[in-house]
């Protein structure tokens, strides 16, 4: 494990700009995932509450839940796009 870390650190030290890019990409995606993570949790949790309270309207709740997930998830995906652009482009 230590050897692995030192290999990675050596790679970073060898190419400072690429290292900063990699750190920025990782941090960027990590930060972008926090909000959508919480948001999707709230969406799904409340949808489950709705389905448990009114099982007869579970269909509507499920459809709306997927819509909410899709809109919330878009933020995380934009973070992922930034990650791809920084890490590979």
């Amino acid at each position: 494990m230590l050897a692995l870390i030192s290999t990675i650190l050596a790679q970073l030290a060898g190419d400072g700009e690429a290292g900063m890019k990699a750190i920025g990409a990782g941090l960027g995606y990590g930060l972008a995932a926090i909000g959508p993570g919480v948001g999707i949790g709230i969406v799904v949790g409340n949808a489950i509450t709705a389905m448990a309270r009114q099982p007869e309207s579970a269909g509507v709740a499920r459809t709306t839940m997927f819509l909410g997930i899709a809109f919330t998830e878009a933020l995380a995906l934009i973070g992922f796009v930034v990650f791809v652009l920084l890490a590979f482009a």
Binding site: L4, G59, V60, L67, A70, L77, I78, F80, V84
Partner: protein
């Protein structure tokens, strides 16, 4: 590229396929992505042609499957987002769903294992088609000025806030909707493909050196393959349902 001292293939090798047909031609060429799209097109058209060829009151074989699919679209997408007058969009939404589903599903089919939608071209094209459709539907249903009025001025907003709301709504219907539609599909497929490749490379590298620990990433690979089947279907569903929501918003502005 070197990740955790493993030889990870450069990302271009994962997504950029060389042309194998008309490779020297400047305008027309065919590579794996294009071939997958053609196959999905033929699959979508063939499925519905096979189901409609011998129609019977009591469905058998292909017709059962297709009827289940169409009923799913009707009950879970059209009825809940547009309403009964959305039935005329059923052909559009159904073909959209099945085309996206088939081109996604190649992500997990052995020996092909490439989600065609992880290239931006076709998701963006589909999103632009959807963009054109919901604008045309809205303008035809409400008239040009009424459509933009109801889209840009949502009711129940305090007057002074319109300064803020109108530019956001304009940006939303012109730019954000089609872009987020395309990026959502594309980024999900890219992420899924990268995930599968990472664990496949990890298993192969561990199997080549240490043998036994390779079981762990391989188990993860199998789990993720199942998860990616779910994601492929879910993304096709979400693409279709958002299309239906945008069309429904153009048809019935009061919602």
């Amino acid at each position: 590229m070197n990740v955790f001292a493993l030889d990870f293939p450069p990302v271009n090798h994962l997504f950029d396929w060389p042309s194998f047909l008309f490779a020297d031609n400047e305008w027309v060429a065919l590579n794996k992505t294009g071939l997958i799209y053609l196959v999905s097109l033929v699959l979508t058209a063939g499925l519905f042609w096979a189901a409609a060829r011998r129609r019977s009151l009591v469905p058998t074989g292909t017709q059962t499957v297709v009827e289940a699919g169409v009923e799913f679209i009707e009950n879970n997408i059209v009825m809940q987002t547009i309403g009964p007058d959305g039935r005329r969009f059923m052909p559009f939404l159904t073909t959209l769903f099945f085309f996206v589903l088939f081109s996604n599903m190649f992500e997990v089919i052995p020996f092909i294992q490439f989600p065609a939608n992880s290239r931006m071209a076709i998701p963006l094209l589909l999103a632009l088609v959807v963009w054109a459709v919901y604008h045309v539907v809205g303008i035809r249903a409400q008239g040009f000025f009424q459509y933009f009025k109801s889209a840009l001025f949502p009711p129940g907003v305090p007057t002074f806030l319109y300064v803020l709301v109108v530019p956001i709504e304009l940006l939303q219907i012109i730019l954000i909707r089609p872009l987020s539609l395309a990026i959502r599909l594309w980024a999900n497929m890219v992420a899924g493909h990268l995930l599968l490749v990472t664990f496949a490379v990890l298993s192969a590298a561990l199997w080549g050196t240490l043998y036994v620990p390779a079981v762990l990433p391989f188990a993860m690979l199998i789990l993720l393959t199942a998860f990616e089947i779910f994601v492929s279907a879910l993304q096709a569903f979400i693409f279709t349902i958002l299309t239906a929501v945008y069309i429904g918003g153009s048809l019935h502005p009061e919602h």
